[in-house]
């Protein structure tokens, strides 16, 4: 059975949290919502999320700072910044801090879902590449172990 994709929504607006939950759950995502940056950090420490939707203005910290912190602890997680206060400097900073997407409020559900799907596909491809590398490593190590055993037997 394929594991459900989990999404962490970080927004101080309860209405937005509820709306996003409904939209995402309807698409089959597992959704958890939090109202500030510290709760987001705590949640990401306890559980693994595939996607984080981060509001740029949070009550306890800047969304960009949260993005930076999550980038360090959860490098593989897809991070999409949502903002109602668009500016070029914000967008550039978000991308520089490792955002995978930048969405403006008010947003269309279809656009957001499409962006999530595209980013998840990219994440999956990168994981597959990583898996191939691990298998390659295992095979190489096992060959080395076998060679070492043969050498020991010959001695």
């Amino acid at each position: 059975m394929k594991r459900k994709v989990s999404v962490l929504v970080i927004d101080d607006d309860a209405g937005i949290r509820k709306t996003l939950s409904k939209i995402l759950e309807r698409e089959g995502y597992l959704v958890e919502t939090v109202g500030d940056g510290m709760q987001a950090i705590e949640a990401s420490r306890e559980r693994v999320f595939n996607v984080a939707l981060i509001d740029i203005r949070l009550p306890d910290m800047d969304g960009i700072d949260l993005l930076d912190r999550l980038k360090k602890t959860e490098p593989k997680m897809v991070k999409i910044v949502i903002t109602g206060y668009p500016s070029l400097s914000n967008a550039v900073e978000a991308v520089n801090k490792g955002a995978d997407g930048y969405i403006l409020k008010p947003f269309e559900a279809g656009g957001l879902l499409e962006m999530i799907k595209r980013r998840l596909k990219r994440q999956e491809e990168s994981m597959k590449y990583g898996e191939e590398k691990v298998v390659e490593y295992i095979e190489t190590r096992v060959r080395q172990i076998e060679i070492d055993r043969c050498k020991r037997r010959v001695r």
Partner: protein
């Protein structure tokens, strides 16, 4: 929780940790455990030391990350609170968790017996 249930929980935890690397990695690991280390998946609970050695032979220092994941999942499955520090002996910790899980089950059985005794006293009009 009997020994069989503990063994199943341990195997589930190993599956989970290997699967975190990808399904193909999981299959590759089990294949080489059997072929190179003569260790079948089902034998892992009774050969924890061999399992630990095989994992360390393949991943060297990286084995600790998989072992930590196995322990986290195992404790979660068993409802046992156990925190391993940065340096731990996998074989010892598994053995400790096994004892804790079996002990927990024993306590649960004892507490259930108390409950049964209380019920009998009540229904027997004060007689035990």
């Amino acid at each position: 929780m009997g020994c069989k249930e503990f063994d199943e929980a341990l195997l589930d935890a190993v599956d989970f940790a290997f699967h975190s690397l990808g399904k193909f990695c999981q299959q590759t690991l089990y294949f080489h455990f059997k072929k190179t280390f003569n260790l079948e998946r089902a034998e892992i609970p009774s050969k924890v030391e061999e399992f630990d050695n095989a994992l360390k032979s393949i991943f060297k220092g990286g084995a600790v990350f998989l072992e930590r994941l196995i322990l986290l999942k195992l404790c979660e499955e068993l409802g046992v609170k156990f925190e391993a520090g940065n340096v731990f002996d996998f074989v010892e910790v598994v053995s400790e968790v096994r004892s804790m899980a079996l002990e927990k089950e024993l306590l649960l059985i004892v507490s259930n017996f108390d409950e049964v005794t209380v019920v009998r006293r009540k229904s027997g009009g004060g007689k035990t």
